[in-house]
Symmetry: C2
Subunit: 387 residues, 2 copies
């Protein structure tokens, strides 16, 4: 199978790695943070503002796009990149996380999941094979396998059974993926021939299950490996420990993606443990709720203390919001319910996240990452300015 | 009184005029459309996007800004321009229109209006004097007098009495304005020493009352004159006739502002009758509801016919939305409830309005306005593409 996808580690500093992902839609410098564009739009943000903030790759949610406007429609329009007008790389999840979150609206068995749409109650099935098919039609640069997502906490036994099912699903996903991309006469016409596929290591907080999952998943031979099932409520030290131990099981020549994380501190700490890729709704969702990340800690823009504060959100930030507007004005926009509160705040938070990743990459290349990390965590320790 | 405000007519074509408003925050080419920035933000639009769309001057609503964040706070922060980060000209209304719209929540007498805030029910008074004071604190480049706004239809007698009260209020507004700006020891410290003040001609659809109002208002000697009380439900031909007849009563060397109008066709038709300035929520509000103005008529982006339409909103438009996105994607964003639907649509509609004004100015300077007008109205006649 010809593939436009490749990964190279350019430098290391401790366990932290500087790398490059090559995809059909361009090169991604790692470590990288991927803003979440659930429905084909990073909420409250125009693509050009994302580019300005330094976004290299965004994430699309298969569950949402499958339901609306539909993967078939998107495929007829030439794939997700073309449909949404974003010419840069895109990663899609498998849809599993959203389906599992539907709680009473879904049933899971070995074949996959049966669920009712949150939009109209209509009945749908998601299987390992259909998750691959949908993503092939969307034409993302990186597709994820369908895995089973457990709620935290789960017993060792539940976690083991679920992990084993995820491995069986991963095998089916890989088989289907190779079948489609080898052009074997399927009814699925992929809109991105250079699409890559990542496996996902599960196993909850049980390291022997993580090891077992890693071994079995690596044996299937994916283009990259994700760590799933973290950032779901476990203590932060447990998460860091699982990341550190699991990374050691992953091949050094493949990208490592920690799904759904996290705070700015989580990014720094998990880069220190060898992670290359992150995604999280935190910067965008919190922005719309008025919580802003700054080099001096987090602030809540609705706080009365900012009513007449003429300073920018973050004196160290060069984003359009910080260059143009005061905390006083942003507080006013938030309290007045203006849509521009959401978009200006989002632009700042994404800039903070993406600029943090840029600084991380710079520090690794200079082999000063440990110093950067210590200084960053000192400022992050003031993260509750307003609480 | 020293004033940085002046107006010059540079060319005419029929009754249409090409002009220049000089204000403390820059020059405005007329005829001009002013996007409405009710609460200090043109809804769903960043200032730099407004600049890109060609906005020269925006409108702020005194009622909203007085209640939140408050004119005193804005004055302490250096005035409205500085508070919101918009360095270009701003016009403020008097607050009267919003207060009169409160219906059962307000009482009017000769002194002014007593009303309850739509935010918290608190009791406030707005008088001709306080409307001047608030705008002096906001520091807009152009302030409007407080006038009485009648609902349409109103009897001749009601209209006459209301118009006469508006004239009395205009005299009080002018006296207060001159008092403040001559620096006569008031407790009001204006944040814009070069502020101008416009009078408003009332009189409903009764031309003799309009004539009487124009005469009395001009006698007070304002920096410019508005036509109020139109675009409130009267037939379009009546509006055009009142505009044409009223403009003839206004001095040729002062700017003429038609308040609250209108559709793109209204702009062209009223420029043809001698109007220089317009404001309206139509392009911004309709954008958020999915109605888009194009060179080929209006479209409703939620219409199923656009589900797979790869074309831009308007092939003749060069805005970011039209350069980047298809009708199919914009329809998806609208149906998915994404905030970017509102902001992308707004950017397009404002560009259409502002570009129409630019083309009007060009046509006047080339003395081809009548030809432009005929062609524009032919395309506008297809305005119900989707209805």
């Amino acid at each position: 199978m010809p593939s436009a996808f490749s990964f190279a580690v350019l430098a290391t500093d401790g366990r932290a790695r500087l790398g490059e992902l090559h995809t059909p839609h361009g090169v991604v410098q790692t470590p990288v943070f991927m803003p979440v564009g659930t429905q084909g739009s990073v909420k409250a943000t125009h693509h050009r503002d994302l580019e300005e903030a330094g976004a290299q790759i965004i994430l699309g949610n298969t569950y949402h796009l499958y339901l609306r406007p539909g993967d078939q429609l998107i495929a007829r329009r030439g794939g997700l990149h073309r449909f949404i007008g974003w010419p840069h790389p895109i990663l899609t999840d498998s849809g599993g996380y959203q389906v599992f979150s539907l709680a009473e609206r879904r049933k899971i068995d070995e074949q996959g999941a049966e669920f009712r749409s949150h939009l109209d109650g209509s009945l749908h099935r998601l299987s390992p094979e259909s998750a691959v098919d949908i993503q092939a039609r969307l034409g993302s640069d990186i597709a994820m396998v369908l895995d089973e997502c457990l709620a935290y906490p789960a017993s060792r036994n539940e976690t083991a059974q679920s992990m084993e099912r995820s491995v069986r699903w991963a095998e089916r996903c890989r088989a289907r993926f190779l079948d489609i991309h080898d052009g074997g006469g399927r009814d699925v016409d992929p809109t991105n021939r250079g699409q890559a596929q990542f496996g996902i290591v599960q196993g909850g907080v049980f390291q022997d299950l993580r090891d077992q999952s890693a071994g079995a998943t690596i044996a299937i031979r994916f283009d990259g490996y994700a760590i799933g099932g973290l950032s779901v409520g476990e203590p932060i030290d447990v998460m860091y420990a699982v990341v550190a131990d699991t990374v050691r099981r992953l091949p050094a020549d493949r990208p490592r993606y920690l799904m759904g994380a996290g705070t700015p501190e989580d990014l720094v700490e998990c880069v220190a443990r060898g992670i290359d890729m992150f995604d999280c709704v935190l910067p965008t969702r919190n922005a719309r709720n008025g919580q802003l990340f700054t080099s001096e800690g987090r602030i809540n823009i609705k706080n009365a203390r900012y009513a007449e504060d003429e300073g920018p959100v973050d004196p160290a930030c060069d984003c359009y919001t910080c260059r143009t507007h005061s905390r006083a004005y942003l507080r006013h926009l938030y309290l007045a319910g203006e849509m521009t509160a959401g978009s200006l705040n989002t632009l700042h938070n994404l800039t903070f996240y993406l600029d943090t990743m840029r600084r991380i990459r710079e520090a690794i290349s200079l082999r000063t990452f440990d110093k950067f990390r210590q200084e960053f965590l000192r400022s992050a320790s003031r993260l509750s300015l307003d609480s």
